[in-house]
Symmetry: none
Subunit: 235 residues, 2 copies
DNA sequence: CTATCGCTTAAGGACGCGTTAAGGGCCCGC
DNA sequence: GCGGGCCCTTAACGCGTCCTTAAGCGATAG
């Protein structure tokens, strides 16, 4: 899960980013509008937290352009209490939620999780596929009744695959959503993580939850098991 | 599906091409206008992605000449944000859509898919013929309710035949739309792929979805509803 | 009947992926 | 501050899949 934080107050930004990283997000950050615009449109972001009171291109500009470009990831805006009226414009520009500064860190986390949940169309913060269960709020993973210990990156890979269960996810897509910045990992990290995941999720090698599609990527089987696509919709 | 990418920024071009190849396209690429002009007019391109800010013959020139030559494959233009006004000229010259740099890779892919879909006159990204179903977005193939695993090239052949169901497709046409560059395969690759396709799509040999027209090529039977846009391109 | 074209099969080789092990960084406890 | 352990990362190697080619056979048209 890759988050973008655009906030010019360095202290506040650090605070937010540290917390998000602790919670398992890959975080891109900037305090500058122009750079923020670039990240917002160029990087494969899953959620953005944008301060409205920016120098350069304002937060509103960024939101508007992102939406105009057809990107639909959730955007949460931050606004100073003194200018809380701005939130209206922000929401009109295409933001999904807002938080008024100052705020409790927990509050922000909760809103972010809610937005992500909503954007996926999941009512519950729990992902299931076969006998694999992922609790995204507590970042716990179960296989059947058995609790499984995953490392940070193992979890990120699994969560992303579970969120896109049934779809073919390329290794570069995984890399992009799991690492920050342009961190081009020209190695086989993903293969290694997938292997560890497989051996932890399915030590016997009987259920094969993650299949490989040579040259294309990986696919985590949805419980329905390769159903016929009942027509595509909702990007 | 054969794509042409004309973009002088080498990094960006590589990024685009890598992604397209991963998504199953045969990709011709160049950063030079003159060469781009040649490819655009001589190769059997299915879709072109052209940067407007080129050295030599500009992107506009290429588009204009391509259209003047009577080729009607979809063209998507790339334009820097600072010069977004150029898009108007581009569209007037005959381009079909535009993306402003910087952009998110997913965004470009989505636009390309949309253009291809539109150019074929298909509302849905799903091709059907008899009991064969091809989901072009996920590159999945079903025969009846059964999911069929195809290799990369098997899929390319099938997709092309399905897109032109009912038409007689020569082996050289298949070769040209499936491979990049001038890669003249003077062998019987196509015959081999067709055989593998036949045995996977129709193991019993009863339905005969792909028929051979000796000396002319192959034809995938289209049953019933299946409209084709009036198409006069693709040498 | 023969020449040409297509079908079938098998084998070679290239390449992607799996697998393993080892190095190094970071954090935590002592 | 120091040591140890966990985990990320990389690299090497082996294996399997898939692409490609070629050769032999069958079919078809002239």
């Amino acid at each position: 899960m890759r988050a973008l934080v655009i906030e010019d107050d360095v202290d506040l930004r650090e605070q937010i980013c540290t917390r998000l990283r602790q919670e398992g997000y890959a975080v891109d950050e900037t305090g500058e509008g122009e750079e923020g615009m670039f990240y917002a449109k160029e990087y494969p972001i899953d959620i953005a937290i944008i301060d409205l009171g920016l120098p350069g291109p304002t937060g509103l500009d960024i939101i508007a352009e992102v939406r105009e470009a057809g990107l639909d990831y959730p955007i949460l805006i931050l606004t100073a209490r003194s200018r809380w009226q701005d939130k209206v414009e922000g929401l009109e520009a295409g933001a999904d939620d807002y938080v008024v500064k100052p705020f409790q860190p927990e509050e922000l986390s909760a809103r972010i999780q809610a937005l992500l949940r909503r954007s996926r169309g999941w009512a519950q913060p729990r992902l299931e596929s076969g006998d694999i269960i992922v609790d995204t709020t507590r970042q716990e993973v179960f296989v059947g009744d058995q609790s499984i210990d995953l490392t940070a990156y193992e979890y990120r890979v699994l969560e992303y695959l579970m969120l896109h269960a049934g779809e073919v996810i390329s290794k570069t897509a995984l890399t992009e959503h799991i690492y920050e910045e342009n961190a081009e990992r020209d190695s086989n990290v993903i293969e290694v993580f997938v292997r560890r995941l497989r051996s932890k999720l399915d030590p016997d090698g009987t259920r094969k939850p993650i299949e490989t599609l040579r040259g294309r990527g990986y696919r985590l089987s949805r419980d329905g098991r390769n159903r016929r696509p009942a027509d595509a919709s909702s990007s």
